[in-house]
């Protein structure tokens, strides 16, 4: 329980999911878009960055920016083609889009390294890395910190700080915009598109913007994920990850921007907890079985939450009743 490795894992998981789910918060919490393919943005950003660095020799920061831009462009593409569809169709189109992305990543081995992941970006027999500059930067920061303060700060702690700094910055930006007229327009669209257009709001353009902004935020989460873990495969971006973002959003209460970090922390605890806890009776199960159990618990939690507290832990019950 006091293992620092456990807590930094919780913090890293929660931080990345906080950013990732914040993108969904913009799309669903504000604009009411049922995006069930959110993970595609993360995958596109992470892979674009890795491919541009390894195969095209771009600087890492340029590749990271390009990754986020690519996620945003993909969001625009999905929006332009599918935003006019009914909500349930839109949900199905987005989840299919995210699976198309994953299948292409799995199968274009020549471009992506295929199922073996980014380590195979240069083909078999050569281990590819896309974040060497980043890692040496972190190493320099660690040296500087230890020479100035005498403290040995681990890589994970530095990443933890960075990720939560980004999360806090993005949260404040989204929070600020959402209490301003910008957010009011999106909430009005979530409530009733025709009513919003009857007072002069361009519903399609607004939804497209929310979708692209959410995709860019998810792209940032993808870049941070890639930097933290130094390696990933297409299966890191399966639909389950999108559902986890929904768990985070719903735990916190979809209509509350500040519900996102709370939801992410709870989710991080649950996610990491079931991985690290090995005391009795969990010690009777092997690690694979504990992973299944974890997902069963998350599933039951979703069902229970939707049944007993659909407005989330921070949400107002009254708002749900007005739906």
């Amino acid at each position: 329980m006091l293992d620092p490795g456990f807590w930094s894992f919780v913090g890293l998981t929660a931080g990345i999911y906080a950013i990732f789910a914040l993108g969904l918060q913009v799309q669903y919490g504000l604009a009411g878009l049922l995006n069930f393919g959110h993970v595609a943005s993360m995958a596109i950003a992470a892979y674009t960055m890795a491919i541009l660095v390894v195969r095209f020799g771009l600087a890492e920061w340029q590749a990271a920016a390009a990754g986020i831009a690519a996620a945003m462009a993909a969001g625009l593409l999905v929006g332009l083609t599918s935003l006019r569809l009914r909500a349930d169709y839109f949900a199905i189109v987005t989840i299919c889009f995210s699976e198309i992305v994953r299948y292409v990543l799995l199968n274009r081995q020549d471009l992506t390294g295929g199922p073996e992941g980014t380590i195979g970006l240069l083909g078999r027999g050569q281990a590819a890395a896309y974040n060497t500059d980043w890692d040496s930067l972190i190493a320099r920061v660690r040296e500087t910190v230890s020479s100035v303060t005498g403290l040995d700060v681990s890589r994970d702690i530095l990443m933890l700080l960075l990720i939560w700094l980004v999360a806090a910055g993005l949260l404040l930006v989204v929070r600020r915009a959402s209490v301003m007229p910008w957010g009011r327009v999106l909430r009005s669209i979530r409530e009733d598109e025709e009513a919003a257009s009857s007072v002069g709001k361009n519903v399609f353009a607004r939804k497209l913007q929310a979708l692209a902004l959410g995709a860019a935020i998810a792209g940032a989460a993808g870049v941070l994920y890639a930097l933290q873990f130094s390696f990933f495969t297409p299966d890191d971006f399966e639909p389950l990850v999108t559902f986890f973002a929904w768990v985070v959003l719903i735990l916190g209460g979809a209509a509350r921007v500040f519900g996102v970090p709370l939801g992410a922390l709870l989710f991080g605890l649950l996610f990491a907890g079931t991985r690290f806890f090995d005391f009795w009776p969990l010690s009777l199960l092997d690690s694979a079985d504990r992973a299944y159990l974890r997902l069963i618990i998350i599933g039951l939690l979703l069902i229970g939450l939707m049944y007993y507290r659909p407005q989330g832990l921070l949400g107002r019950r009254q708002e749900m009743l007005l739906e």
Binding site: L34, D88, V93, F97, E99, L293, I296, L302, I303, M306
Partner: protein
Amino acid sequence: MSELPQLIVDGLVSGAVLAIAAVGVSLVYGILHLVNFAHGDYLTFGAYAGLGVTALGLSMVVATVVAVAATAALAVGLQLVLWGPVRRRRAGLLSSFITAIGLALVLRHAIFLVVGAGSRAYPVDQFSVERLGPVRVSISQLIAISLSIVAIAVIGVLLARTSIGRSMRAFADNPELAAVAGVDVGRIVLATWLVAGALAGLAGELQGLIQGAFDPNMGWNLLLPIFAAVVLGTIGNAYGALLGGFVLGLVMELSTWSVLGGGIPASYKYVVAFLALILMLLVRPQGLLGRRARAL
């Protein structure tokens, strides 16, 4: 040149499984307005129920009966303990989506917990192949084809000729009107789950057969192609779902036909299915059999 007929036969076989599963999803959507993300895992449940029976040394016939009955029981049971109460709470679109996803996670990983992650197969000789003219058909495919024909005939008779089937279709078409006409909603809902569950059980077993080896992810992986078939054939329309399943099965297999610029690699089968779905939604959102909705 036996490639084309072979692809057509393969397409019809995988299409039949999609079609059988899609009818259930479509009925559930039409009658309960529920997009059941857990439906794929109902298939997996059926496949393993059948496998359990064959492990006892019983025949595939018994296995099929058990798979169908057990999955139907699961579907009805879940209606009683989960969907019924959720419906009474008047859950919104998102709530029911998330509940279904939660259920999918629970079912799939419970199956993982019980049977483990390894691949299994039915005790059917995977390598024995019959030649029918230019086409090679495996024993599994033959079983799948014959059972599908029976199942589709039964569905057809059920929906077209029985009173419960007719009320189900009427209800899916226009719930208000059907309710006014004195249709017993509770009975319809249970009948729907019974049919959808039975079909899911059968489809699960058939998918396990034609796939050869399968693991607990099987149904989940098949969920989106099933959805694609449902939407392709007009969501909520049972006959449309049958058609959508076959069309999708054929499209998926024929996309690999070498005459089409060398064909698309088989590993892109699902990509083709999803693209077909997205294209369909953009061009003809009402589906193959749907009427264009009236504006405003």
